[in-house]
């Protein structure tokens, strides 16, 4: 005679919902604890992360960031740069003056009419 483990379908049916609800309960608890930690601002790091998640400029310092892996740093967006060369806008203005506003010399605007023309052209050249 073969030994078989009796299969009780009622056990599966009755235990499954309680297991799922238990797991969901744990997940909800974890999420609640995380949110509590973040909003309480227990540490500089968590408060910085909380404000950052609201798209506010963060004062998260370099020492904190340096502890993160490079892959994570590459996902972090930066506020407008203090170290970016300011060449791009100047270049578009030069193009505008040289190629789109004939008769207007670079940087030497003779009259108010020329200034208005350049202002108009510079606006149009914003898509450069």
């Amino acid at each position: 005679m073969r030994n078989t483990i009796p299969f009780r379908s009622e056990n599966v049916v009755t235990n499954a919902p309680s297991m799922v609800s238990s797991m969901l309960g744990q997940a909800a608890l974890a999420l609640a604890l995380c949110l509590t930690t973040l909003t309480a601002g227990a540490a500089d790091f968590t408060s910085a992360v909380a404000s950052a998640s609201l798209d506010m400029p963060s004062d998260m310092d370099s020492a904190t960031l340096a502890d993160l892996p490079l892959e994570t740093l590459m996902r972090v967006a930066v506020t407008p740069s203090a170290t970016q060369p300011a060449l791009a806008p100047a270049l578009s203005e030069i193009y505008a003056l040289r190629y789109l506003a004939p008769g207007v010399d670079q940087g030497a605007l003779q009259d108010a009419g020329s200034q208005q023309r350049v202002a108009l052209v510079t606006k149009q050249a914003g898509g450069f």
Binding site: Q26, A27, L29, A30, L31, L33, C34, L35, T37, L38, T46, V49, A50, A52, S53, D55, M56, P57, S58, D59, M60, D61, S62, A63, L65, A66, L68, P69, L70, E71, T72, L73, M74, R75, V76, A77, V78, T79, P80, S81, A82, T83, Q84, P85, L87
Partner: protein
């Protein structure tokens, strides 16, 4: 007992995921982020043997660079077991600097202090420079280009992981 362990693991996992997802939407000062990049570059570089015999890991820059304060906050962090120490390049002795940070705000030409150093352009230097790594602002994120030839002139090599994450490698 097992259930408590599971719930602790769930809490830890939840916290980790939340922090990482928040960071994905974070906006930080680019100078702080660039300093953090530079520290990571130091960790992914194979340094000559003489670094181990030094008491400090000297990082040189000019005080006029916008990165100065952020680089200074890293003082004391370990690189190759040595404390990161920010030094004014004008006061550094020949061969003292392990890393030299170039900045367009305060152009720095090749000095003896920067011999065999890892030269990093903070992204503000216009035109060609001696930098082996150039930081680049791209779509509100920081990327970097690596020039392995310039690094090899200084006797330095980079880990494959760093090269894999670089935007361009030449």
């Amino acid at each position: 007992m097992a259930q408590r362990k599971r719930s602790r693991a769930a809490i830890a996992l939840g916290s980790g995921l939340l922090v990482i997802s928040a960071l994905c939407f974070a906006q930080v000062q680019d100078v702080a982020l660039k300093a953090a990049y530079i520290y990571n570059f130091a960790l992914f570089t194979t340094w000559p043997q003489d670094v181990a015999s030094a008491s400090r890991f000297d990082v040189c820059a000019t005080p006029e660079t916008p990165l100065w304060d952020s680089l200074e906050k890293l003082n004391g962090k370990a690189v190759e077991g040595r404390p990161w120490t920010l030094v004014d390049v004008a006061l550094a002795s020949p061969g003292q600097c392990r890393i030299v940070v170039l900045s367009g705000a305060a152009p720095l030409h090749a000095t003896e202090a920067g011999m065999s150093a890892l030269v990093i352009d903070d992204g503000s230097v216009l035109g060609p420079s001696a930098a082996a790594i150039k930081l680049v602002n791209e779509h509100e994120h920081i990327r970097f280009d690596v020039d392995t030839r310039k690094a090899s002139f200084s006797g330095l090599t980079f880990s494959s992981k760093l090269l894999r994450l670089a935007r361009n490698v030449s």
